[in-house]
Subunit: 424 residues, 2 copies
């Protein structure tokens, strides 16, 4: 992550198809002062004995470690994502990243405990595991059947005395690939995880941004065995600077209600030692907005979602126009939502290529290897269409195609020379 | 911590001399909307090419992991605390608690590495160590000379194959005891820590709240060997809900400039995986306030400091009035600043006593054993005078004295009966 920020700083005029942040062009609508006031009035209405000034002052204090706006978030999760939560099962966190760094060590307390991930996967998840001392194991890519992959991983781990305790997954509009798992895949994963007692950490930052096709229920909504912890965030729907996310635990953990409660208690305690509590100021901004939107963000995100959809279409068109003439080896997916797509290249795209491409072609892209645990992703890049406009997408993709042509010619040239060298 | 919140929830009418939070009676002066706007204008003035709306939108985005308002915080640390920082040495954190949970595992990476603490100490420090898998060792209390205590601790650890790598300390108006280390004690600790290569984590949340006597320089300002990481927070000077703190690293780590840089790099990376970055909204509130106060919070905190001083005086007077008649076994200190004092009791004050005292006498106090790593603090309590008013202090201390009288009589009665029983 820091490497890409440095590249962006070094080439401020380059177009970034690497940044996965949301667009900030609709943030004018957010008025923190007004939203804080709204939340203060709401808190005041819940404890009518106190006066309003007290309620406002209290927002600026320390607060409950588990969160302040829990009921409003529960309402939003139900309305917008079809996930049922309750106050004893939810924990408000300093962004979803904190939820990850709380859950991983709690689910994998022993040195032989392992979290399974897909490959590639969100680098923040493997980073959180590393930062909290949890071992990561990539589900083998060779198995097209994801269930078979999980089974194989568990078997391999077992042979080396280790144990899969958690599975990190973004089933909807995956970061970095844009992939969606369909309902039968989700149910199959839930089945094997329930059978093997693997807790699923379902991360759903992009679920609200679907541009076509029928919605698929989150795994947390399909979960009957009690194996899904649902991770959510307001970074994409409201704004990243609120740093507000949530972890929702299942009613029972594999049928055990006490185990779920004990896990939440442990997460709350751990949070109290990492960040004390999530800022009540930023919680109030989220709360105030949810109050004004009657508990659903569907309407609120509409302009951004329309923008992203148009950007996705623009990127798909530009890719088609720019890459079809070059080579049939170039492939990309058509994501039905989210911020990202994956592009396959006929050569290795590494850190050197990032700098080369930014320096000579004025476009910054993300090597897929940044998200990988092996070298299987070395020939892919992630393209993001969330924080750019159509003009930047056109210019960026065109420049990228130019770089790709140049690279292919150079590589061919090197190859020819090598052959000549070999023949002499 | 959670236990006390539960007690407070259970007895909402009880007076709390346990809560160590700052007073919120001057928070009306804080206007988040105005402060955000001020910070946005400042950011805009630094990058004049962009328009102001962009600068405002950018505040709501993700931001640099190391922080956004670093220069303003550096200015404030120099002006108010006499601590010299620089942009390559400071890291803005989600409250000081996050700084602790970043530094501890970075300083103590190996299983045999240990952080030394005084006993009693801030429970959040030992909790952060526990949450991040770092072993804690209490400096033996029997040694009045703190240097001798540290030497003894290091020797004991060495004998069991462990190594002291860090020392956590609140030299100014300690939580929970209110104690201040004088300059010669600070210099002596710095000397031994430099010699033994123990990094000092100097936590200074209360340093701005001195009510009498000459200021003592922070250990970071006295540090010549490069062994102090200075931890600071805006929770007490501005408001806890900003959740903004900072860690300032020494220019060199024991003379090694590269080692200090490498450590900061590691802290920044770790932070990116725990919380991504500190909310730019709450950073902007801090930044906007610092801009309006010309970089110093001295004036801003004046009303709160005067309030705390008056509360301290009231508490000392009430203790004198209520406890002198009861017994000479009751002793307490006169803190020259901060939020707390320590009261010695002639009996054990445990969780049961907290509930008893809250139920029957309407006052909640903090057993010092909550901050202790052994049973040496079982007969002490911490009294806080920060979040109450003079009337509550009078009523609270009077009720506490009544509880103490009742306890002493009961204990005497039990003792008599035991003796009778023994004689029969």
């Amino acid at each position: 992550m820091n490497f890409l920020n440095e590249v962006a700083d070094q080439f401020p005029l380059a177009i970034s198809l690497a940044a996965g942040r949301p667009t900030d062009r609709f943030y004018e609508r957010l008025n923190p002062g007004v939203l804080l006031d709204k939340q203060a009035r709401h808190e005041h209405s819940l404890t009518p004995g106190r006066n309003l000034l007290d309620a406002k002052a209290r927002l600026l204090q320390y607060g409950r470690t588990a969160g302040m706006i829990n009921e409003l978030v529960i309402q939003q999760l139900r309305a917008d994502e079809g996930v049922t939560a309750s106050s004893e099962r939810i924990l408000i966190t300093a962004g979803c990243q904190e939820a990850l760094s709380l859950c991983l060590p709690a689910l994998c307390p022993d040195p032989q405990d392992v979290v399974l991930v897909f490959n590639p996967t969100y680098a923040g998840a493997t980073g959180a595991a590393r930062a909290t001392g949890v071992a990561v194991f990539a589900i083998p890519n060779v198995y097209l059947d994801v269930v078979e992959g999980i089974e194989q991983a568990v078997k391999e781990l077992h042979q080396s005395g280790r144990r899969a305790r958690a599975l990190y997954i973004i089933p909807e509009f995956d970061n970095p690939t844009g992939r969606v798992l369909d309902e039968s895949q989700r149910r199959a994963i839930l089945g094997i995880c329930a059978r093997l007692r693997i807790t699923v950490l379902e991360d759903n930052p992009y679920g609200m941004f679907r541009y076509e096709g029928q919605p698929v229920q989150p795994m947390a909504a399909l979960d009957e065995a009690g194996c899904v912890i649902y991770l959510s965030t307001f970074s994409k729907t409201i704004a990243p600077a609120v740093r507000v996310g949530a972890a929702t635990l299942p009613e029972t953990l594999f049928g055990d209600r006490g185990a779920s409660r004990a896990l939440r208690h442990q997460l709350v305690e751990r949070k109290s030692y990492l960040t004390v509590n999530t800022s009540q100021i930023t919680q109030a901004i989220v709360g105030g907005l949810l109050l004004g939107q009657n508990g659903s963000l569907r309407q609120w995100i509409q302009p951004a979602a329309a923008w992203y959809r148009a950007n996705r279409d623009a990127m798909l068109n530009e890719l088609q126009a720019a890459f079809t003439p070059i080579s049939s080896q170039m492939q990309w997916n058509r994501p039905s939502g989210g911020f990202f797509l994956a592009l396959d290249l006929p050569f290795r795209f590494d850190v050197e290529a990032v700098v080369e491409c930014a320096t000579n072609y004025g476009v910054i892209v993300m090597p897929m290897s940044f998200f990988a645990l092996d070298n299987s992703q070395d020939h892919r890049i992630r393209l993001s269409f969330s924080a750019v406009d159509a003009q930047q997408i056109r210019a960026g993709v065109t420049s990228l195609a130019e770089y790709v042509s140049w690279r292919m010619e150079r590589d061919l040239h090197v190859l020819k020379n090598t052959h000549k060298g070999g023949a002499s």
